[in-house]
């Protein structure tokens, strides 16, 4: 919707062709100059390390015997590595359970704030967003204390009420506890993205809907949510990336629940442990590379699926008219 004017401008360049060429070249040069700093940093900090990691991942190194070129031996080992596959599946489960909850809450908050009916909306917005400003390290330490079975306030309350001592840090519960931490951390962030998209909807749409007799819920369902679809898709893609890259939470929870957080709890944490505890740097590089591929494929697949659905929806609405 908002893209169409820009597209139109591109299709019909308004500048006269000949004068435009010189002008354009100068503009192009300026543009290149502007992106040069970014490009340099991008190249040295991302592309080169990435290529180096890819290069490393093709070697096999042993404590005795040193390094030798091994083609894709590490990758073959990785796809047969139950620890790696297990960590990916665990994150898959994490994604299926935690992300809908987190995004659902974020959407709810965003709609509530946008409706303008909630009192103290500014204060609430800040409160919901605040956890995002707390570094993941601090957040995990804080929750680690809250979860503590003996002196954690949650356990104390549960005991006082007579529910016994819930063990948030046991091997069976730790995934849920971690979902809770991540939800708490990122609800605000996702809410802000959705809220910003909501603010961009022209208010005359609401007026028209109200004239047609739509209530607030109907407006939210039929206008607001479809209108911020791109923003929601964006948050889902961010969540795919974020989930599969979880690192700070498991590595810190490992200190207080070392028996529940295994070395391969998340793919990233596994790669880290491989590199620094097993001293299998090359294998770790191939795990990291594979993880990147998995994330890219999932994100792309999700985008493709939503685009296709959108197109189908469009054709469906167009055919009757």
């Amino acid at each position: 919707m908002s893209q169409s004017p820009a597209l139109a401008a591109e299709r019909h360049p308004t500048t006269p062709a000949r004068r435009g060429n010189a002008n354009k070249r100068r503009q192009n040069r300026a543009a290149y100059l502007f992106i040069l700093p970014f490009f340099l940093v991008f190249l040295t900090m991302l592309v080169i390390p990435l290529m180096y990691a890819g290069y490393l991942s093709l070697f096999e190194s042993k404590l005795i015997g040193g390094e030798q070129f091994a083609w894709f031996a590490n990758y073959i080992r990785a796809i047969q590595d139950s620890a790696f596959i297990g960590s990916l599946l665990r994150m898959g489960l994490f994604f299926m359970v935690q992300v809908p909850i987190m995004l659902g809450l974020a959407l709810l908050f965003a709609l509530a704030l946008d409706s303008g009916r909630a009192r103290g909306a500014k204060g609430v917005r800040l409160l919901v967003f605040m956890p995002y400003a707390v570094p993941a390290v601090v957040a995990t330490l804080m929750w680690g204390y809250l979860y503590g079975p003996d002196f954690g306030p949650l356990a104390q309350v549960a005991r006082a009420v007579g529910w016994g001592t819930p063990d948030f840090l046991s091997a069976g519960n730790i995934l849920g506890s971690m979902m809770n931490i991540v939800t708490w951390e990122f609800v605000g962030y996702n809410m802000i993205i959705m809220y910003a998209a909501l603010r961009a909807i022209p208010s005359d749409l609401y007026e028209a809907a109200e004239i047609d007799g739509a209530g607030q819920f109907r407006i939210a369902w039929s206008i607001k949510i479809p209108a911020i679809r791109p923003a929601i898709i964006l948050t889902v893609i961010f969540s795919i990336i974020g989930t599969f890259q979880l690192f700070a939470e498991p590595s810190l929870l490992n200190a207080i629940a070392p028996d529940a957080i295994t070395r391969s709890f998340t793919p990233n944490y596994y790669a880290y442990n491989l590199a620094f505890q097993n001293r299998e740097l090359n294998y770790a590089a191939s795990i990291a590379f594979l993880l990147g591929i998995v994330i890219a494929v999932l994100s792309y697949a999700f985008q493709l699926a939503t685009e296709r659905r959108e197109r189908r929806a469009l054709t469906e609405t167009e055919t009757p008219s």
Partner: protein, 451 residues
Amino acid sequence: MKKARKTALALVTGAATVGLVLTGCAPSGGGDGGTTSDAITDEQREEALNTPTDLTFWTWVPDIENEVALFEEKYPAINVTVENVGQGLEHYQKLRSALEAGEGAPDVAQVEYQYIPSFVLTESLLDLTPYGADDIADDYVGWAWNQVSPNEEVWAVPQDVGPMGNLYREDILSEAGITEAPETWDDYAAAAKAVKDETGSYISNLGATQAGQMIGFMWQAGVQPFTYDGAETVGIDVNNDTAKEVANYWTELIQQDLISVDTDFSDQWYQGLANGKYAGWLTAAWGPIFLQGTAESTSGLWRAAPLPQWSAGEQVSGNWGGSSDAVLATSENPIAAYELAKFINHDEESAMKLATEQFLYPPQLSVLENPEFIDQESEFYGGQQVNKLFADISETVDTDFQWVPFMEYVYSTYEETIGSVVAEKGDIAAALDEWQDQLVSYAEDQGFTVE
């Protein structure tokens, strides 16, 4: 002036020696073997210590600048930069990265005993025998020296050790009718039951994932879980019969709920020590001071004793923790670097400072025999001479204990195999088998010959 002349003299003698060697007229004969001709002469040492030199020293011992200052005072030409790059694993990661990168590694680095073999494997440590390290061997407790010198080479200078003992709450134990520290492990199990029944406290806590403590118990029982020949052969034997006996002992106590299995060094655990949830702590010689800071409110209620024994009348212990200072092979000033490592851990004043100011438990006989140290009475332990007790224990630690050159892996798989079983009150002995399998297959994958 005097210094300059000395340096000049050293240079001349140095040059003369080189000349002689080059012309093949080195005074041979007299049975001078290869090692002695490599040995650093007094002149070379003198020269090195009087040449302005910058040394870097990586350690996480707090306030070690004080000991370093003594060194700098004695050798004003040498300037030492102390850097703390993190504790434990973080420190080793940075050290390995620097070594791998080929630059940025320090001259001297703190290395815990169990990690020495891993640096020997990568040829990162300097053999200190040519620098005269053999001469100070007798100044340390025997088993500690074996830790830095399992074969002929000397890889580091011992800094501190952790012979294990038993710290317990006298008040809680006597409430349960136990007036003396349990002498044998059987007594300890009986006491555990009495304490739990009478007071509700656990007699102590076994850190579920604390490999150091369990390995210490194995060490005491005479288990030799690891061996390493300094080259490509390792021995891994974590699931032999003796090890399983130790494991079964703990499994039983844990399953009867007489020993708790909280993660140690966690908030919960600190509180447990302070509020009597645990009536004791089987720990190392660095434990007594550590505990004073953690459980201040219980001052005067604690006592220290040797570990319970497997057979009555015996006196053996294991070790848990402790560090050494090693000179890295990449150091450009190896002589001065060795002198620093040696001075910090050998000079009487410096070693005494480490023991009484940083409270590192000393392996140096000079400190262990110093009345100022061992006669110290500790109020926290009801006026007991705790240092003396641990000095006696230190002499009962088995001398031949070794490590494999991949202890990071050993510890992390311990967490996964044993730790999770302990936490779930399962069969520890069975978990030892799994641990053994994982260790052996890793060692083989890494190209070691496993015995």
